[in-house]
């Protein structure tokens, strides 16, 4: 099954769901082609838990919905083996005004980067290497 994310299609669909929103903010995250030290990556591999991963994403979305004055949220996240340059995550937020939409999207991504139940590995000629949450990700998460 092809589970790739088509961001332009997702944006179009999201816009059609809530036509009365004054603001739509979307974020598209793509896989990089190199490690932090410049090695080429063949695949980014995301492992997930059969129940806790979806539950964690639902919890994050619910918290964002309660915290910010938004009218709609959509979060899509891939797992498995993902090639460089492919979209790995898509977030969309609808709100009456732009500030809430920007903040909610920012919040969602900071939480997804630290609290979503995934385990990441990068694969390449160097072998396979687990990726930990970065200090920057933790600091971003602590802003909220």
């Amino acid at each position: 099954m092809d589970c790739r994310i088509d961001p332009s299609c997702e944006v179009k669909n999201f816009n059609e769901v809530d036509l009365d929103s004054g603001a739509i903010v979307t974020f598209t995250g793509n896989t990089r082609s190199q490690t932090k030290v410049g090695e080429s990556i063949d695949y980014l591999v995301l492992e997930r838990h059969p129940t806790l991963t979806l539950q964690s994403m639902q919890d994050i979305s619910t918290t964002a919905s309660n915290r910010f004055n938004v009218s709609g949220i959509r979060v899509i996240h891939r797992y498995g083996r993902i090639k460089p340059h492919e979209t790995i995550v898509f977030v969309a937020v609808a709100s009456a005004h732009r500030r809430e939409a920007f903040e909610a999207a920012d919040y969602l991504m900071d939480r997804l980067k630290t609290d979503a139940v995934f385990w990441k590995r990068e694969e390449g000629s160097f072998g396979s290497r687990w990726i930990d949450t970065t200090e920057r990700d933790v600091l971003d998460r602590e802003r909220w």
């Binding site: 995250g29 995550v89 997804l112 139940v117 995934f118 385990w119 990441k120 687990w130």
Partner: protein
């Protein structure tokens, strides 16, 4: 025989699943860690940042486990 599941880096040692014969019908999470460490030379399992779920619910070290429970060890999440 009880199947113990591993997620993330902790799966490097035995893969996703390890089938074990527990020494008793009921033991705590802490006792299970010590059992795996002692009998499988699996010292990484003693790292308390590796969290444990019982039937998909996070549990404390004192939680008692039965052989019929689904027990998982989860390395710290990488996030998405």
């Amino acid at each position: 025989m009880t199947s113990i599941l591993f997620y993330g880096k902790i799966s490097d040692r035995f893969g996703d699943t390890l089938d074990v014969n527990l020494p008793q019908n009921s033991l705590s999470v802490g006792e299970l860690r010590n059992f795996l460490s002692a009998n499988y030379q699996f010292n990484e399992i003693l790292d308390l940042t590796v969290r444990v779920t019982k039937n998909d619910e996070f549990v404390l070290e004192t939680e008692m486990l039965q052989s019929s429970d689904v027990v998982s060890f989860l390395s710290p999440f990488s996030g998405g």
